[in-house]
Symmetry: C3
C-alpha cells in the first residue's frame, strides 16, 4: 500500500497517538448512535452492524478518498470492525445498559462526541496533507457530518443536520477555525486537538441546555 509522503507540517508522535485514541472513542460513539437508529427501524443484527459500520467509518472514509490516503482506517484497525460486529450482536443489551438516558438524548450525545472528534481530526489530517486553510476546515466539517448523514439516509430518516433546528454543522465549523487559531499560535499540538474537540462537544451540548436556535 502506497502512503503519501507527509506534507509541510510534520505530525508529532504524541499528536498521532492522541488522535488515534480520540478516533477510537468517536468510532464507538458513532457506532452506538448507529445502534440506536437501527433499533428504531427494527433491523436484524447484520443490518444493525452495517448501519453502525457506515456511521462509524463513513466520514473518515470519504475524507481519505478525497485526500487519497490509504490504507483506510478500518482496514488497518480491523479489530475495531470486529468489535462493532460483536457489539451489534449484543446491541439490545448494550443499549439497555446505557439506557438510563432516553434513546433520543443518548443519540444526541453520542452524535456530538463523534462530531467533535472527527471534525478536528479531519482538519488536522487535511492540514498535514497541505490543504489550504479554508479547505482543511471544510474537510473537517465533512468528516464530522457525513457519518451521521449516511446513518440517517440508510435508515430513511431525515438527517439530524436538517431535523434539528439547533446549530449543528455551525458548531463543527467554528470549532475547526478555533483549532486553526491554536495551530497558528503554535500552541501545543495535543492540547490544541483536545481543546478544540472539547469546544465543539461543549458548544453542541450547550445548544440543547440553553435551547439555542440559529436565525434563518
Amino acid at each position: 500500500m502506497r502512503r503519501r509522503p507527509t506534507g509541510g507540517r510534520v505530525p508529532h508522535p504524541r499528536l498521532t497517538l492522541a488522535i488515534a485514541v480520540l478516533e477510537a472513542i468517536a468510532t464507538l460513539a458513532f457506532a452506538i448512535s448507529g445502534f440506536i437508529e437501527a433499533r428504531k427501524n427494527r433491523l436484524d443484527s447484520v443490518g444493525t452492524f452495517v448501519v453502525a459500520l457506515a456511521t462509524a467509518f463513513g466520514g473518515g472514509t470519504l475524507r481519505d478518498i478525497l485526500l487519497e490516503r490509504r490504507p483506510f482506517y478500518w482496514v488497518v484497525h480491523d479489530d475495531y470492525v470486529i468489535a462493532i460486529f460483536v457489539l451489534a450482536l449484543f446491541a439490545p443489551f448494550v443499549l439497555r445498559m446505557l439506557s438510563r438516558l432516553s434513546a433520543e438524548r443518548l443519540l444526541l450525545i453520542a452524535d456530538a462526541i463523534g462530531l467533535g472528534i472527527f471534525s478536528i481530526s479531519g482538519t488536522s489530517i487535511a492540514l498535514d496533507a497541505e490543504m489550504p486553510r479554508f479547505i482543511a476546515v471544510m474537510m473537517g466539517v465533512i468528516t464530522g457530518v457525513v457519518g451521521g448523514i449516511i446513518r440517517d439516509v440508510l435508515c430513511n430518516d431525515i438527517p439530524l443536520i436538517l431535523r434539528d433546528s439547533r446549530p449543528y454543522a455551525t458548531c463543527a465549523f467554528v470549532g475547526c477555525w478555533f483549532y486553526l487559531l491554536l495551530v497558528w499560535l503554535q500552541f501545543d499540538s495535543v492540547y490544541s486537538v483536545l481543546l478544540a474537540t472539547g469546544f465543539i462537544l461543549a458548544a453542541r451540548l450547550a445548544t440543547f441546555k440553553f435551547d439555542v436556535r440559529l436565525p434563518h
Copy 2:
C-alpha cells in the same frame, strides 16, 4: 491505467473467467431489477437507463474505489453499458417477456442473483488485494448490497435491505464466510465461488419460500 500488482493469492485464470461470466449475469440481473423499479416510478428511457446503470455497477464501483482498482469494470466492458442502454430502450418489452412472474417477485429474484454473485466476487477480489479476512467479508457484503441501495434511494423508495423483514445482508454475510471456509480448505477455486454464490442465492430464496424472519 495503473494496475495493482496482485497480492499473495495469485488468481487462477479459470477463476478469473468464472468470475467474469458470473459478473455478466449479475450485471444483467441487477439491471433488470433497475428496470422494474424505474418502471414503478414511470421514468423515461434515459432515466431508466441511469437507474439500471447505477444498480448494475454501483456496488462494484464502490468496491474498486475502496480497493484502488482501476480501470473500472464498466470502463473495460463498455459493451455491457451499451447493452443496458439498448435494453433500457426496450425495457417495457423486456419486462413483458419476463412478466409471467409478478413484478415484485421478479425484482426479488433478480436482486438475489445480483446479491449472491457480487458478494462472493467482492470477497474474492478483496482477498486478492490482501485484505484481512473480516474486511474481505465486509467488502463482499458492501459490493453485494450497495447497488440495490443506490437503486432504491434514487427511486425514492425505502431500501429493500430495510423494507424486507427477511434476512438480506445476513445471507450475504454468512455466504461470504462459507466462501472463506472453502478457500481455507483449499477447495477448488472455481467450485468455491460457484458453491458460495449458490448458497447465498438459495438461502435468500429459501427465506421467501419458508417465510423466515430474523428476530429483532
Copy 3:
C-alpha cells in the same frame, strides 16, 4: 499531487480557458439552486453553505474520483469555496435580488445552466482521459446530474430528475452526443463546447416553454 499524463487528445489552452470560465458560471448557478432548496428547508447559514457546496462541487468531485484526477477543482479554486461561503451568509439578500422570478422557476433555470455546462465539461474531460465514447457521454451525464441529486437527497426532497416529468437526463444525454459529433467533425473545440452547452440549456428550457413530456 500526481497529475495524470494527458491522453491522446491534447486539450487546447483556449479550450481549457473556455471550460474554466463556464465551470465558474455553472458552479455559481448550482450554488444558487442550493441556496433556494436550503431556504425552503429553513436551514441556517452553515447548513445553507454545506448544501450549496455539495450541489456545486458534487458532480465534478465524483467525476474526478472516477477518472482519478487530482487535485480536485475545489482544492485548486478554494477562492470559489470562500465566495460561496460569503454568498451563503447573505443568501436571503442574494435570493431577494434575484427574486423577480419565482423561486421554483429560478431553481429550474439555475439547475439547467449547471446541467448543461457540467455535462459537456464532463464529457470533454473524459475524452481527454481516453475513455471510450459511450463511457465519456455517461461521465458527462453523471457530472451534470449528480450535484442536483445530492442537493435534493440532502434536503430530503424527491430528486428533480424524478420529480419532473419533463426530459432531464435525456437533454444532457442528447447534448453530449451532439458534442461528440462536433468533435468528430473536427469543429473548433471552443465553439463545440459552447454550442453543445447552449443546446442542452435551450433543450431543457424548451421543455418548460412547450411543456414537452416524454412517453413512459
